[in-house]
């Protein structure tokens, strides 16, 4: 190897070491773990290899619950947040006054600590013996009866979860869609106006197709992100998610790894691989749909 080549590799050593130890090696290791049965993290021994870890995880009621929770969360929040984001972005890009102010406000949740603001959401939705909480006051105002969103029925908890998730993911989506809308060449709009096209038709026939790649991008990242939900859930329901019945797949992985029910890296690895397989499948399906819809349009 000549000196010039040596130099290139020399500059890359730090990155290679860090990536090798903390990304590449773990990638293989997690697969190894997932097939080691009865792994004991204290003695670092195991008594066999096989698919037992996977079948254990798939039969674990906590995992089933986590799977169900995650899927519900994904199915509700991804379309909802993308839809609202589209609505807001279109509104945002059609105004001139105060546009920057609104943009700044809408982006704020991105830079806030999810755990910290989750606490505020919990307070807002909580019902305790001392107070019904702010949200329940609004429900009262409209004639409903109060519900404990944090410790109450499943659908109530899921509602808070979804609302908070939408609140958290919105800034990114609004930002991406607003810049996508801004990058549409205004000549298209002018041309359409000259032809006397109605605003709705302009939106449906010009704007939407032009920004559809970005919408697809948001849907895909949205799916991936929502499948990995964890921090937001902890923020609202605390660390003991299994007890709250609100665990997610990622939460299950971490609980298996560490914490009160922890110490099972093999189960954690199996669950993580299952999650990865799900995300990969969904992403591929999304890409297929995108390709087809691009071809037909």
């Amino acid at each position: 190897m000549n000196t010039r080549s040596m130099k290139g590799w020399l500059y890359l050593i730090p990155a290679l070491v860090f990536l090798g130890v903390f990304v590449v090696y773990p990638l293989f290791d997690v697969v190894v773990y997932s097939f080691e049965e009865g792994y004991n993290s204290a003695s670092q021994t195991f008594f066999g290899t096989g698919t037992y870890n996977f079948s254990y995880v798939l039969r674990d009621t906590y995992f089933i619950q986590a799977l169900k929770n995650t899927f519900i969360l994904v199915i509700i929040t991804v379309p909802l947040s993308t839809g609202i984001a589209l609505l807001i972005s279109v509104g945002l890009s059609s105004i001139k006054k105060l546009q920057e102010l609104y943009q700044t406000i809408f982006f704020l949740p991105y830079v806030t600590n999810t755990l910290a603001v989750g606490l505020v959401f919990m307070i807002l939705f909580q019902k305790t013996p001392y107070t019904d909480g702010f949200v329940n006051q609004i429900i009262h105002f409209f004639g409903g009866s109060s519900v404990d969103f944090i410790d109450g029925p499943y659908w109530a908890k899921m509602t808070v979860m979804c609302i908070y998730t939408v609140w958290v993911v919105m800034p990114f989506k609004v930002l991406i869609l607003t810049s996508a809308l801004a990058s549409v060449n205004p000549d298209y709009y002018k041309a359409a106006k000259v032809d006397g096209t109605s605003s709705w038709r302009i939106f449906y026939k010009i704007t939407l197709p032009m920004i559809s790649p970005m919408i697809f991008y948001l849907i895909i990242t949205g799916f991936i992100g929502a499948f990995k939900a964890y921090g937001d859930v902890v923020a609202i329901f605390g660390t003991n998610l299994n007890a709250a019945g609100m665990n997610t797949i990622v939460g299950y992985v971490y609980d298996m790894l560490y914490g009160d029910g922890g110490g099972y890296p093999s189960y954690a690895s199996a669950a993580a691989l299952i999650l990865f397989a799900i995300v990969l499948t969904i992403t591929c399906i999304n890409l297929l749909i995108q390709r087809r819809s691009v071809q037909t349009s």
């Binding site: 290791d29 609505l87 600590n113 999810t114 910290a116 800034p171 660390t239």
Partner: protein, 290 residues
Amino acid sequence: MSNMTQEQEHRAFVRGQRIRTAVIYTLLTLWAFIVLFPFYWMVLTSIKSYSAYNAEYVPQLYTLAPTMQNYVDAFTAVPLARYFMNTVIFTSVTTALMLVVIVLAAFAFSRLDFAGRGLLFTAFLSLMMIPNELVIITNFVTITNWGLRNTFTGLILPSVTSVFYIYLLKENFDQIPDDLYKAAKVDGCSDFKYLTNVMIPICRPTIVTVVLLKVIECWNSYVWPRLITDNQLYFLVSNGIQEIRENGFGRENVPAMMAAVVVISVPLIVMFLIFRKKIMEGVSRGGTKG
């Protein structure tokens, strides 16, 4: 006659426009309210006294007797200052180390010609697809085996590299014209000096963006610190806030909790207001969250 209809049509059009504008502003204001209300609520609650807060069966939307007592409690009853300092140390060291690593790597990929460069870069890019959840299990075991639990080293090491930032910076380095490098060679400038005296200053905007994004990421990191620390001395703010929530002020002291939330939220919000344009531009270029 036809003039009349035209004028009427025009009026109808203007009225339609006005209604549309009104609807848009209402919608935007509504969402702005939803975004801002939690912030308002946390500040409001943090300045209500403990007794006043608990006496409100119907939560009040304002307070006439603001108090700073909760902030005092937040810093004295729980080690909030400690969490805060830990996070500052963690964030600055991680970001600094990351900068060194990614600048060197991006420079090698962009400027140095070596055997296997293209292949290695492709391999790097493919690492971007690996979800953190997949590698964190082994990292947890690795750090535990190295005896680095409850240390800053253990917290920092796995957070140092980011393939995405290497990619971002490399793209930026690539935009510097070749002639500049040749000119520097003619001027007797070494490769390393070219990096430090020419490339880094030219690409400063991108580097600042990367730093800002990394600071946000570090400040809000929760999962890894949670796995690797169980000693309060090494808690970061995210874990701290969770700790405060679960075993914090002895009993449910919501105002003090909100004071803590305000304290840990303020630095990032201030940073955001200062670097608003840069952060939003950086995120739209490739941040992900959601």
